[in-house]
């Protein structure tokens, strides 16, 4: 009996996107390139995987007092200092730092552009890896602080997020004018993701400076929708649909740690297990699943999840 190994031949490929710049206005010691896939995740027998998927660590500019106690306990005092925090996560294996400027939110500290720029500089000084910078998540404030950050860090090739359908022009313009990248986020839908890529591209930003975030549902909270939408986006990309060929980023940590399963230590069934392990497992499961659906960057919160996903990637990158 002779059985041929079943290989698919795909017409398309995911675009390669490089974050961070070494020299030429960039102060990074390394850059990170994602994308370039010509097959479904980790099928080395089908096509070489040019870039290993990347782990980013989420860091907050202000103390995240609303985070799960399991995270706050582990992060300790580092959670009060974004520079020290970022450096610690890089030591733990993070290849990118995703800095979220939560303190700028009007309902939090309402920090202004200057303070945000200072925090970004502090983190840039503390680590050599490329940065993703997220605004606080409200359109006006996102535009205000991210434009200031973009201008103050011209040439660093930061990834700025999030662009949404109703609010992308200002951010795309800031990225365009200052040599940065953007992240487009859409609500768990193939066509909306595609449309936002088109809109961003229409403004003249080269598509090798665009990441897409099809939005993450955590384990137990709609992960199956995200999983299938990411699979469908990746299949469309490989089949040659050029507007779905952006590398995908997933906020696996943020979504997993928001859920009760990653927060509640008491008053939950014994069959849930111990919170410290359960929270890490919830995050690791969410990230591991979405890596199989095609995620190129997973943004994580816990050093243990980061280490575990790193070891899992070591295994997944081995050719059979």
């Amino acid at each position: 009996m002779t059985i041929e190994v079943p290989r698919e031949t795909w017409q398309g490929a995911v675009r390669e996107v490089t974050l961070g710049a070494v020299g030429d206005g960039g102060s990074r010691t390394t850059t990170v390139t994602v994308g370039g896939e010509r097959s479904l995740p980790f099928l080395h027998f089908e096509a070489p995987l040019p870039h290993r998927p990347v782990m980013a660590a989420e860091v907050s500019d202000v103390y995240p007092d609303d985070w799960s106690p399991a995270l706050l306990e582990t992060l300790g005092e580092d959670a009060r200092d974004p520079g020290a925090w970022a450096a610690r996560m890089v030591d733990a294996g993070a290849e990118l730092v995703a800095l979220k400027l939560r303190g700028a939110h009007p309902e939090r500290q309402g920090l202004g552009a200057d303070e945000c720029v200072a925090t970004v500089r502090k983190v840039l000084d503390a680590v050599g890896v490329p940065l993703i910078v997220y605004g606080p998540g409200t359109p006006d404030k996102d535009n205000e602080v991210l434009v200031a950050v973009a201008e103050a860090t011209k040439g660093e090739r930061l990834a700025l997020g999030n662009c949404e359908e109703k609010n992308y022009r200002t951010l795309v313009a800031a990225a365009l004018g200052n040599g940065h990248l953007v992240i487009g986020q859409t609500p768990i839908d193939v066509n909306l993701a595609k449309q936002l890529n088109i809109l961003i591209g229409d403004m003249g930003l080269p598509l090798d400076r665009v990441l897409m975030d099809p939005n993450t549902g955590a384990l137990g909270y709609g992960i199956e929708y995200t999983y299938s939408v990411m699979e469908r986006l990746r299949l469309a990309a490989l089949m040659g649909d050029t507007m779905t060929q952006q590398p995908m980023i997933s906020m696996a940590g943020e979504e997993a740690w928001r859920q009760k399963e990653a927060r509640a230590a008491e008053g939950v069934p014994e069959a849930w297990g111990d919170l410290a392990d359960r929270g890490v497992a919830w995050e690791t499961t969410t990230a591991s699943a979405l890596l199989q659906a095609g995620a190129d960057i997973v943004v994580l919160r816990h050093p243990r999840s980061l280490a575990a996903v790193g070891r899992a990637l070591d295994e997944l990158m081995k050719e059979a």
Binding site: M1, T2, I3, V5, P6, F42, L43, H44, F45, D66, E107, G137, T138, I188, G217, A218, L219, G220, Y221, G222, I223, E224, Y225, Y227, S228, E231, R232, L235, R258, K260, E261, P269, E270, A271, W272, G273, D274, D277, R278, V280, A281, W282, T284, T285, S288, A289, Q292, A293, R304, S305, A307, A308, V309, R311, A312, E315, L316, K318, E319, A320
Partner: protein, 447 residues
């Protein structure tokens, strides 16, 4: 591959004798293709036709039952590579491996069988225990198997390199229809003979060579064993994904019967998070049985949840039970919000409310599993439905206030709802769930 009506017609006598109850052979063939009648209705059908149709009707991945009685589980019978193409049908069994020299074997087997957790109204459990030979002594393996069987009512798998150990162990537990193996190039004759004698499914272990694996399953089948589970013999997660993807593609797209069996994956792991990462991949990538080594609820709970999520049928909008939900520990002064029973809507809204830290009452209306806007457009989430849901829930009696927060997308309903519920005051919430925390902390708090 299922045959079309015309393909079936060509295999029939084409005499239009009508004895099957249909006016013509073609009509009968069309009905057969739709699975609306049975081939046996035709008195003149040849054996060859029966065999061809049976083969065509067989699923590309064989359905295999492990165990016997109430806790037996079935895996296989899958027809797609991606769940969005149709759905995944049979959730993988999750089994705990215990070695025959483990002093806590009976205790672990009992705990594995007893593990259960409730999620969205479903009871999730582990599916069984794998007893593995480590000591190398047939009598010890038999004793360990007997102890595991006595301690647990769940299905068993017996894994021993020495067929004599399998034979010794099977004596006492054959009636429970354990999965036995591994059948390898060296051992398959003995293992298949045992399985045929006792009517057990067999675990066939490959070594990465597809041709050799197909020959092995064909040999085992030739020895009278139909129920086969394949261990591709993958060395790590990377080779597992490659192996399981190749096998699933060959079964479904190439119709290679000799490889159309459920797959088994081993997920040891030095820590909870390592084990969970491996098992998550195995569940995503086509494993029919996932074997873990750790009996730790923090590992098992995410895994059974992931399995449940992945095997949810994407063709049906999943609904949550329409009723009043308590988020946090709401009291009589806490806000009351209403939304629809589309599960993603519910999970998004409840997740945001939970994340806000503001305890709240969430009233879920029966909108036939549609989201807020779709439900509104279809008349399933209108003022009348909102009013009825509020009244039927009796939530008014539990509150010190009579304020109802409706989704911003149906702001237009607020006047009508106040007409239907004259004692209530309707507040228009945000359009997107993501803005709920801010709404609850500011707008609601200011009320």
């Amino acid at each position: 591959m299922a045959l079309t009506g015309l393909e079936i017609y060509k295999l029939l006598p084409q005499t239009n004798c009508k004895e099957c109850g249909f006016p013509t052979c073609l009509a009968f063939a069309m009905k057969l293709a739709q699975k609306g009648t049975e081939l046996s209705k035709c008195p003149y059908v040849t054996e060859e036709t029966t065999a061809t149709l049976d083969a065509a009707a067989a699923p590309p991945v064989r359905l295999v039952k492990v165990g016997d009685g109430e806790r037996a589980f079935e895996v296989g019978n899958e027809v797609v590579l991606f769940r969005h193409e149709k759905t995944f049908y049979h959730q993988p069994g999750i089994m705990l491996r215990v070695r025959d020299d483990d002093p806590q074997l009976a205790e672990k087997a009992a705990a594995a069988a007893a593990y259960e957790v409730e999620r969205v109204g479903v009871t999730l459990r582990l599916d069984g225990v794998v007893v593995e030979q480590a000591a190398g002594d047939a009598a010890a393996f038999a004793a360990a198997t007997a102890a595991a069987a006595a301690a647990s009512d769940a299905p068993l798998a017996l894994v021993a390199d020495d067929p004599k150990a399998l034979a010794a162990a099977l004596g006492g537990v054959a009636g429970r229809r354990p999965l036995i193996g591994p059948a390898t190039a060296q051992t398959w004759r003995d293992v298949a003979a045992l399985a045929a004698e006792h009517g057990c499914p067999v675990l066939v272990r490959g070594d990465g060579d597809l041709d050799a694996l197909a020959e092995l399953t064909a040999s085992v089948k030739g020895a009278g064993v139909e129920d086969i589970v394949v261990d591709p013999g993958a060395a790590g997660a990377g080779s597992l994904v490659a192996a399981t993807t190749q096998l699933r593609r060959l079964a479904i797209k190439k119709n290679v019967r000799a490889l159309g069996y459920p797959l088994l994956a081993w997920c040891a792991g030095d820590t909870v998070e390592d084990a969970v990462a491996c098992a998550t991949v195995a569940i995503a990538k086509y494993a029919g049985i996932v074997v873990v080594d750790r009996l730790d609820a923090a590992l098992l709970y995410p895994l059974v949840t992931w399995r449940l999520n992945l095997y949810t049928d994407p063709q049906k909008p999943i609904q949550v039970e329409p009723r009043l939900y308590e988020i946090g520990a709401p009291d009589a002064d806490s806000p009351l919000l209403i939304t629809t029973n589309f599960s993603l809507t519910y999970f998004t809204v409840s997740g945001e409310v939970e994340g806000s830290g503001v305890p709240a009452w969430l009233l879920v209306a029966d909108a036939d599993g549609q989201s807020v806007l779709t439900g509104w457009a279809a008349g399933k989430f209108d003022a009348e439905k909102v009013a009825k849901t509020v009244k039927d829930s009796g939530v008014g009696a539990r509150l010190n206030h009579a304020k109802l927060v409706i989704p911003g997308h149906v702001a237009t309903l607020s006047g009508e709802i106040e007409e239907e519920l004259p004692d209530w005051h309707v507040l228009v919430g945000p359009r997107e769930a993501a803005d709920l925390p801010s709404y609850l902390k500011n707008v609601w708090a200011a009320q």
